[in-house]
Amino acid sequence: MRIRCPYCGERDLSEFAYWGDGGYVRPDPHAHDPEFAYYTAVYLRDNPAGAHAEFWYHGIGCRSWLKVTRDTVSHRILGVEFAGARR
């Protein structure tokens, strides 16, 4: 697998670390029933067969966190962007 880091260019899988469901949003700690909100956010994951938005970390590279859209059946990369707002 090769991921095109928006900063470094296309790089081999071995430079990246994976962190799962890219839909993760840290819940508002002041929300109603924060414990349930955190439980849901931390433990329940999107796990589709097909297009999946996910976090990848270019740790052996520019250390950018990326949001990669990837097909979990074909492993084809459908899109890559910086996970955070570009500074």
């Binding site: 899988l13 931390v42 994951r45 067969a49 990837r70 979990t72 059946v73």
Partner: protein
């Protein structure tokens, strides 16, 4: 026909014309008491124990492809009960006990081979962690021995003890651990269940659930709707997909784990060995192939195949541990889709939907659990209460913070 040396000899005289199909390739009926989705080891074992222990025979096992096509048919076949935590340890020991009587229970040689499992340690801290685990095992009556470096050397003189980057300092041995012939486990359970009246339906993919309000009352499949009082999802790597059909999200990610086999060679290693300073474990199959594996690739996947970084990692670790395998040739590599749970331990439980039951989260260690998993799920389905030895394996433990996290990695499935 009962299998025995006698029946084999008799058949050899008549050109083996008398053998029957090992299991009936059934067509689905309109309804069953219980429908088990997934014709892997766990689904078939569930059906076997439902019929045999609980007398519930109006059962169908629905398999989208051929039975054993999933992880049951592609795992590295290691069985052991060397767990640390009280939520796991007695459950896996139940499984080990069932393995020990499986051939007789099924009248099928599943080649359970208690050749021993050695986990190597390479530091004092690792030794102490293994001692803690070994002690927990012993407290439950499970066999465990903490081996010194010299003892390991006597057993496995060809490991790289001195020159390696991480010297071997000893190991934790479970002699009763070992391997079993994975396909035979599938076929043996299928044969027994089928003989007891269970329908094994292949090429039957579940595509949805029949609902009456919240209650699940059956499934829709590629071969029509099938009603059932109870439906159990036992689909390992596909758990999240099935759950999604029922509108549920699970604490599970599906990950790809590769496995490898070498060309067949004469007996080379007669125990199961796991490396403690890298991801690598190895055993030798009865056919002679060195069967080995390592870490998961680390990303979500349903592809049943992996990539080169893991291949390299596994081979580097293997050669670091056993420099002699460098010249053995890798024959084939493949992969399976693992249901990696958020604490690395499984789930056998009801779901929030009445009538729907879940057996999932087996990670890379569910083969050894096959008998106990089927046994405990059958218990849950038949009695509507958890088997005491599987009582901790609940779905709500994540919300409640009662995790069973052997590795202490937290909610990061690819680190378990």
């Amino acid at each position: 026909m009962r299998y025995s040396l006698f029946s084999l000899l008799r058949q050899s005289l008549v050109g083996h014309r008398g053998w029957q199909p090992v299991w009936r390739d059934a067509a689905p009926k309109r309804g069953y008491d219980i429908v088990v989705i997934g014709g892997g080891g766990h689904g078939l074992a569930t059906a076997h124990y439902l019929a045999k222990v609980h007398g519930i025979r109006d059962v169908a096992v629905l398999e989208k492809s051929w039975i054993g096509s999933g992880n049951a048919g592609r795992n590295t076949t290691i069985i052991r009960s060397n767990y640390l935590l009280p939520g796991n340890n007695p459950f896996y020991e139940l499984s080990m006990k069932l393995w020990e009587g499986l051939e007789q229970d099924l009248n099928f040689n599943t080649m359970v081979s208690q050749r021993g499992v050695v986990n190597l340690y390479h530091s004092d801290a690792q030794r102490d962690a293994y001692a803690r685990r070994g002690n927990a095992m012993r407290m439950h009556g499970v066999d465990a021995e903490l081996l010194s470096r010299a003892e390991v050397k006597r057993m496995l003189p060809f490991l790289d003890f001195d020159n390696a980057r991480f010297p071997i300092r000893g190991g934790l041995l479970q002699r009763r651990g070992g391997t079993a012939r994975h396909d035979a486990v599938v076929w043996g359970y299928a044969r027994s269940a089928s003989d007891l009246g269970v329908d094994i339906v292949q090429n039957c993919e579940v595509t949805g659930f029949l609902r009456e309000g919240d209650r699940v009352v059956g499934v829709s499949t590629s071969r029509g709707d099938i009603r059932a009082a109870k439906v159990a999802v036992v689909v390992a790597g596909s758990s999240s997909r099935l759950a999604a059909l029922a509108g549920l999200k699970l604490p599970i990610e599906s990950h790809v784990l590769q496995a490898f086999v070498s060309e067949a060679i004469k007996p080379f290693i007669d125990t199961v060995v796991t490396f403690g300073a890298g991801h690598f474990y190895i055993s030798q199959s009865d056919k002679g192939g060195l069967v080995f594996g390592g870490d998961i690739d680390g990303y979500n996947s349903y592809a049943q195949r992996g990539n080169l970084p893991t291949v390299e990692d596994v081979c580097e670790s293997g050669v670091a541990l056993m420099p002699a395998i460098s010249r053995a040739r890798l024959l084939r590599s493949w992969a399976g889709i693992m249901d990696m749970s958020m604490d690395g331990s499984p789930i056998i439980d009801r779901t929030p939907l009445p009538g729907l039951y879940l057996n999932a989260g087996w990670c890379y260690g569910g083969f050894k659990a096959t008998p106990a998993s089927g046994f405990c799920l059958a218990h849950l389905l038949a009695r509507d209460e958890s088997h005491p030895l599987a009582a901790a394996l609940t779905l709500d433990r994540f919300g409640a913070g009662r995790l069973i996290d052997e590795k202490g990695q937290g909610a990061q499935p690819n680190l378990h």
